[in-house]
């Protein structure tokens, strides 16, 4: 293997310095937005700017030091990009707080602290992503349990018609956000073992190779159960996310384009059935087709968001000078409308590019990863990000019917933020393993076991 890497002739650089540079810029993006909000609303720089900026800097530098110590080869772009998105989101939520006199931003900052702590914890506790493959079925079971939890009377809380929350004392928590990570691990762990059987054994029907039932059965059941739960909970966005995730991972694992055809047909079939059966789906589609039919009722939210985008124009009204608070749920699902209104198309494109970069880096980690499990997990997590952003941004900008999902890292919402930080930690771990040079067989080391194998090691470095 050393011969291979020498022939291919490259080793990835650590690039931790580049990461630090980008992180400082990301801090400027986050703190600058906070200062600009203060300037726009009150006409002065907020008095707690130093405390706020200091706290943000501590979090970001803490995460950076952790990466430097335990994942030195990790991707240098992912962490700064998500830090910038999170900082921008905090500032926008703070701006909405100022207009509505609420205190969401400080709660979000608490969640971000927890998220970064878990990010560091994940990096330390998980020296090798392949350890996750041991928990293939455990995590599948955990995902289903988590998805069922909100349906248990007394524990689950129904907020805005969707029963996707559980309340633990003062906190409410959305288990679906964690479930998507667990499902990615389950799918990846299962598919990496059974991919050959899935791709090669089976019958050919029309132009699609159908795998044998015993190969596809377990994973299909897993997926039907989780999707069924979500449909019962009326969580359209997450159902769409899980469906797309399953399809993409199956396609990537088996390399059969036929799955996309089958999946596409299933999607349109399912969407038609859902449209017929569920009144709220019809309602969403009606709003999408003609939001101005009822601009002060059903269509109010979308119409106001569209007005916001239009009013914002190319460079926006300026932070603190628009009226984003008039859009219902502008701090969570519709946060992009607030950005579009106050910072304009220029910033919206920048934000979309940042999401694109996150997906690109995740897919890049999948490409260069040396083991199938890592490839599939990274692909799955990239798909989660891409689908989530597409569904929510498409909904807000009226490209597709609106289905509720949070915008990763930007939106107000603790469970989503914490889960996404953990996802980024796992992506960094995979990219660290992938970019790490192979052990050099000609090098000397005194411990005979140290570089003996490429099998999962318990201790990194």
């Amino acid at each position: 293997m050393s011969a291979n890497s020498a022939l291919m002739g490259f080793v990835h650089r650590r690039r931790r310095g580049a990461e630090l540079f980008l992180l400082i810029l990301a801090l400027v993006v986050g703190i600058g937005a906070y200062a600009a909000v203060g300037l726009g609303v009150d006409g002065e720089v907020p008095t707690n700017l130093l405390g706020y900026g200091g706290w943000l800097a501590i979090l970001v530098v803490g995460a950076h030091v952790a990466v430097r110590l335990v994942a030195p080869y990790a991707d240098p772009v992912l962490l700064p990009v998500v830090a910038a998105l999170n900082g921008l989101g905090l500032a926008i939520i703070h701006r909405i707080d100022l207009a509505r006199d609420t205190g969401l931003a400080s709660q979000q900052l608490t969640w971000m602290t927890l998220g970064v702590a878990l990010f560091i914890g994940t990096l330390i506790a998980l020296p090798d992503h392949r350890l996750l493959a041991r928990f293939t079925y455990t995590s599948g079971l955990a995902a289903i349990v988590l998805l069922i939890l909100p349906m248990i009377p007394g524990l689950g809380t129904s907020i805005n018609g969707a029963k996707i929350w559980i309340s633990l004392g003062p906190f409410s928590f959305q288990p679906g956000e964690v479930a998507k990570l667990l499902l990615v691990i389950t799918f990846a762990g299962y598919l990496v073992v059974h991919r050959d059987a899935l791709a090669l054994a089976g019958r050919r029907v029309v132009f699609v190779d159908l795998p044998r039932g015993r190969d596809l059965g377990p994973i299909l059941m897993m997926w039907v159960v989780s999707l069924g739960i979500l449909v019962l909970q009326r969580d359209l966005g997450s159902s769409l996310l899980f469906f797309g995730l399953f399809l993409i991972m199956l396609y990537v694992a088996t390399e059969r384009p036929g799955w996309l055809v089958v999946g596409g047909l299933l999607f349109f079939g399912g969407a038609t059935v859902a449209f017929r059966i569920f009144a709220h789906v019809q309602n969403r589609v009606d709003i999408w087709l003609d939001p101005f039919a009822d601009p002060n009722g059903n269509g109010y939210q979308l119409v106001q968001a569209l007005y916001g985008f239009a009013w914002g124009g190319l460079v926006g009204r300026g932070l603190g000078e628009g009226m984003p608070q008039r859009v219902p749920y502008v701090e969570s699902d519709f946060i992009l409308a607030a950005i579009g209104e106050e910072l304009g198309l220029t910033a919206v494109i920048a934000v979309l590019l940042l999401y694109g970069l996150v997906v690109e880096r995740a897919l890049r980690a999948a490409l260069i990863s040396r083991d199938g499990f890592g490839k599939l997990v990274a692909t799955g997590l990239a798909a989660v990000f891409a689908l989530q952003v597409f569904v929510v941004v498409g909904g807000v900008t009226r490209l597709i019917p609106l289905t509720g999902l949070t915008t990763p890292f930007l939106s107000y919402g603790g469970s989503s933020l914490v889960a996404n930080w953990v996802i980024v930690a796992i992506l960094l771990r995979i990219s660290d393993q992938a970019r790490r040079p192979l052990p050099d067989l000609t090098a000397d080391a005194d411990d005979p076991d140290e570089q003996a194998t490429q099998v999962v090691k318990v201790v990194p470095r």
Binding site: F10, V29, A36, E44, V77, A84, L319, P439, L441, D444
Partner: protein
């Protein structure tokens, strides 16, 4: 706060946002070809001689041909990496028709000896296993190369 100042703040902020996006992209751009060829072997290999001068107990010190046309040939492991093949530059030169010019080599890493196939035609076997990657070998493991068998000895 005047209208103009707020306008400048807004433009400045958008500029910062885009500077961030563009610097992130430029870091990625350097990553595209950002893999660099590792430094030529010479400088990194300096600390090698002192180690080989003191072989530990129970460690093999030489490699010997135990079966085949050239039975009896040995090579000292202190000259590692040891090239095995039909070529003139091989430390163990075999006159076996089933052996390639540069067939396999024996290298050391972390105190452990490995045998690595160098893309030979007929393959290198450890037991019945054809090698596809470097495999650790110990004292007495029989490495089959063509019709020849070599092993590590004390």
């Amino acid at each position: 706060m005047s209208e103009l100042t707020l306008f400048l703040v807004r433009i400045a902020y958008l500029a910062i946002l885009w500077i961030f996006v563009l610097s992130a992209i430029s870091v990625i751009r350097s990553d595209m070809f950002g893999a660099r060829v590792p430094a030529p072997a010479a400088p990194g290999k300096q600390p090698k001689p002192p180690k080989t001068s003191s072989p530990r107990r129970g460690q093999p010190t030489q490699v010997a041909v135990v079966q085949g046309v050239n039975t009896g040939i040995t090579a000292d492991l202190s000259q590692a990496p040891i090239l095995i093949g039909r070529g003139n530059d091989a430390a163990i030169r075999l006159d076996d028709d089933y052996v390639s010019t540069r067939h396999a080599r024996i290298v050391s890493s972390g105190g452990q000896w490995y045998v690595e196939d160098l893309g030979s035609t007929n393959g290198t076997y450890l037991g019945s296993q054809r090698l596809t990657q470097p495999v650790p070998v110990g004292l007495g493991s029989q490495i089959r190369i063509g019709k020849t068998i070599v092993e590590l000895r004390k």
